[in-house]
Amino acid sequence: MEDLVGSWWDRLVRRAAYPGYPQAAVLLDDVAPQALLFFRAMGGDPGLAIRSAVGTAHGARRRWLARVAGIDTHVELAWRDGQALYLPERIDLYPDAALNRGLYFWLMALAAQPPAQGDWLQSNSEGTARCLATMPGLATLYQRLVAALLPLRNWPANGTGQAAEQAIRHALLQPGTATALPAGSPPPQPVPLWLHPSPPSAAAANQDDGQQPEQGHGDSRDSKARRRYRARRDNPDDRKNGMLLQFRAESIFTWDDYVRVNRHQDEDEPDDGAAAEDMDRLTVSRDGKTRASRLKFDLDLPAAAYDDTPLGDGLLLPEWDYRRERLVADHCRLQPMLPRDASPAPLPDKLQAAARRLRRQFQALSPERSRKSGEASGPDLDLDRIIRFLAEQRSGVAVAEPPLYQAWPPAGRSMACLLLADLSLSTESWLGEAGQVIHVIRDSLLLFAEALAACGDAFGLYGFSSLRRSEVRYLLLKDFGEPYDDAARGRILAIRPGYYTRMGAAIRQSTTILLQQPAQRRLLLIVSDGKPNDLDHYEGRYGVEDTRQAVLEARRAGLIPFCVTVDREAGDYLPHLFGKRGYSVVHDAHRLPQVLTSLYASLTA
C-alpha cells in the first residue's frame, strides 16, 4: 500500500497538485540555520543532517520536481531516514508566508516523533496526535495549517476516491482517530502536512535527477575509517570519471580487507608496509596519463609538485603500543613543514566583518592592565595592606613586612594556547556538497588567530596529517614567537587537506612546544574531525590508545588538552581520549569559526 501511494504521488506531482503562491514562498535555506536546533529540541535524532527533499544538502539548489515535471508548481514532501531529515526545498503552499514557514516547523516536529504504527494515514495521524498532546503551542499552528489546507483540496469525482478523501480529512481534523485508507481507493492527493508515504531512496532521487550519485552523499556520518578511502574531488569532472569509483571498490577495499583478516599481533610493519607500497604502485599504474599528478595527490602518494616544504630532517617521536603497554621509542618521524606556495596575504574580505567583531569582543578579554594589589614594588602604595600591616604590628604579633605596593602589570591572564588542526583527507569530505571543510577550517583558524591576537594571549597554530609512521607532517602556520601578520595569514590560507591522522605524534610535538611557553595556564586545543587513523596499524584501538596516551602525557605535564570536533560520532570515542568534559562537538560544521572563538572565550574566562 505504502509503495503504491508513493508511486502514485510521484506521478501526481508532475500534474500540479496545488497551485502554490510563489510570492509567499519560504525556502529551506531561510529556515535551515534554525532547523537543526529545532529538530533536536523536538527530540529528533541529533545525528541526522537536514537535507532538501530532493536528496541533496539544503545548500545545493536543485529543483528536481520542478525540473522533472517541467512546471513551476509542485509538491515536495518531508521524510526521514537513517541519515537525514529531508524537507521540501521551498514551501509555497499557502498565500501567507508565516504559514509556509510554520509548515516547515510543523514537519520537523512531526518527523521528530518516534515512528508510529499503521499505514501512511494512521501513522501520520498518530504522530500528529502525539505532537499536539505534548505541544499545546503547536496545536494552534496546526489548526491554522489544516484550516487553510482543506479549501485547497479537491473533491474526487468517484465514490471510493471520496471515501479516501473523507478519511484523510477526518484524520487531519481529528488526529489520532484514523482508520486505514479504504481498500482499492485511487491515488489520494498528497498531504503536505504529513510525511512521505514511501520516501524515495536517496539513490532513486539522484537518478531522477539525472545526475551521478553524489559521492559522500548520505554517508556523512561514516566513520573516518571508511572516509579515508574517499578520493579528493573538488572538480565535478572527477565524479564522472568512473575510475575513481572502480578504484575504490576494487583495490583499496580488497587491500583493507586483506589486512584486516591478516592483522598481526606484533609489529605488523613489514607486511603492512608492503601492502601499502603495493597500493601506492597500484595507484600509479592505474592512473591515467593526464591526471597523473592529481591522482597521485588524491591517493596518498605525495606528488612532489604538491608537497609542502620540509624544515630540517624531522624529529623522532615515540608511540604507544597498547598491546605491549609501553612507549616504543623513536617510532615515528615527525616532519615540520611550511605550507607550499604560501605568500603573505591579508585577511580575506569576506572575513573582515567577523574579524572586526571578534577583535572588539576579544579586546575586552584582554587584561586591561588591572590594578594588582600586594606587589613587592610598584607605583602606588597599597593602603589597605599598609593599614592592615600597621594594625597587626600594633597588636603585638610579629609579622614580616608583606608586599605593600600596587602595580599595573600587563599580561595578567598569563595564558598560552596552541591550536592543532587536523588536516587529514577526511576533512575534505565530510561537509559533502555544501562546501569543502578545509575552507571552514581555514576560516576558523584565521578568525581564531584574529581573536587571540586581539586579546594578547600567546598562541601558536599548527596543522598536521600523516602518511604512515615515517611521515607525520607537522605544518607550522604561526609559531609562538612570531607575530600574527600577513605572513602567517598567508600560510593559513595555503593549507590543503593532507593524508591521515596520526594524532599521537602531533599531540606529543605540540606538548613539547607548548611546554616551552612561560604562561601560567596552557591550553592545547585540538580541532579534529574524526578518529585517529593512518595507513598502517595505526587504526582502531591502536590509534585511539596512542592518542589517549599522548593526551595523558600532556595533562601530566600540566597542560590542559581540549578537543573540538565536528565528528558527530565523536561521543563514541572522545570521552575515552579527552575525558567526559575535555571535548565539545560542533554539530553544524559551518559554525566552527564562531564556536571555536566563543569556546576559547568561555574556556579562559
Partner: protein, 269 residues
C-alpha cells in the same frame, strides 16, 4: 562576600524539593563531621539546598561567593583599626567555626588555589583552623560543617580543584530535577498553576536537549522559575519565555530564532 545570616528559629524552612536522597546524605555527613562538596550546573538548586539543610538542622549559615581575588584573609579574618586601636575581625569561615555553623563556599573553583589551602586542616580529621595572624588555633565544634560547591561544565576545564583539596570531601552530584520535581518547584517557587508548570517543564525538556550542542549550558531551574513568576504576574507567556529563557541562553540571532520556535511549540499563539 555575602553577609552571613543566622536562621531564626521560628522562620519557615526555605522551600526545597528533594530530588533523591541528598537530604539524608547531607545529614549523615553532618553527623559524621565530614565536609561536603556539591557539584552541578548553574541554577539547579545547590544554594537553596544548603540553605534548606542549614535551617533544617537549626544551624547558622555563612555563605561566601568565591572569586579569583578572594584571599585567605577574606575567609579567616584581619586586623582593623578602630578608635585608634587595632581590633581583630573574624572572617566568615572563622565565624562559622566559632558558631559551630555551616560555612558554604559557593563556586569554590573560582578562589585562588592558595586560598583553598587554608581549608585543609579544617577538612581532615584534625578539624582545626589555625589563625596565623593572632596565633590562635580554633578547634571546630562537632556541629561545624564545611560545604563547597562548583559547576563542573566543560567551560570550566581550566579551573579545577587540586586533588588534595577535592579528596577531602564527600561529594554529591546535582542535576536539573526530573519533570515531576521541577513541576513542584515551579508551582511552589514560581507560583505557576498546574497547566503552566507542565508547559514550562515540557519546554525545559525540549531546550535541554540542546545543551552541549548548541548551547553552552542547558536552561536552568532558576530561569524556569523566573519565567513562571513573570507569567504568573500577568506577562504574556511568549514574552516571559523570551526574556527569561531564550535571551539569557544565547546571543546568536539564528539560535535565538530557533529557540523561539521551540517556545512556540508550547506557548505559540
Amino acid at each position: 562576600m555575602n553577609a552571613p545570616h543566622r536562621a531564626a528559629a521560628a522562620a519557615p524552612l526555605p522551600f526545597y524539593q528533594p530530588l533523591a536522597d541528598e537530604c539524608e546524605v547531607f545529614e549523615a555527613a553532618w553527623h559524621q563531621q565530614l565536609p561536603l562538596l556539591i557539584k552541578g550546573p548553574t541554577g539547579c538548586g545547590k544554594t537553596r539546598f544548603v540553605a534548606h539543610m542549614a535551617a533544617r538542622l537549626g544551624l547558622p549559615l555563612f555563605t561566601v561567593s568565591c572569586h579569583d581575588d578572594l584571599s585567605a584573609a577574606d575567609l579567616v579574618g584581619r586586623h582593623l583599626i578602630a578608635a585608634g586601636n587595632t581590633q581583630w575581625c573574624d572572617g566568615p569561615l572563622t565565624r562559622a567555626v566559632r558558631a559551630g555553623g555551616i560555612c558554604y563556599l559557593d563556586e569554590v573553583v573560582e578562589a585562588r588555589k592558595d586560598t583553598t589551602v587554608v581549608l585543609h586542616p579544617l577538612t581532615d580529621d584534625r578539624r582545626i583552623l589555625p589563625i596565623e595572624r593572632t596565633g590562635e588555633q580554633l578547634a571546630a565544634p562537632a556541629s561545624f560543617m564545611l560545604v563547597v560547591s562548583y559547576n563542573p561544565g566543560y567551560q570550566h576545564v581550566l579551573k579545577t580543584l587540586k586533588p588534595s583539596t577535592r579528596q577531602r570531601f564527600v561529594a554529591l552530584a546535582f542535576d536539573f530535577p526530573p519533570p515531576a520535581v521541577e513541576l513542584t518547584v515551579l508551582r511552589e517557587e514560581g507560583g505557576a498553576d498546574e497547566a503552566l508548570a507542565r508547559r514550562l517543564v515540557a519546554l525545559a525538556a525540549q531546550l535541554r536537549r540542546l545543551g552541549g550542542y548548541h548551547l553552552d549550558e542547558a536552561v536552568s531551574t532558576r530561569l524556569l522559575v523566573y519565567a513562571a513568576k513573570l507569567i504568573a504576574s500577568g506577562m504574556a507567556a511568549r514574552t516571559a519565555c523570551r526574556v527569561a529563557l531564550v535571551e539569557p541562553l544565547s546571543d546568536e540571532p539564528d539560535t535565538l530564532a530557533a529557540l523561539m520556535a521551540v517556545v512556540d511549540t508550547q506557548f505559540g499563539a
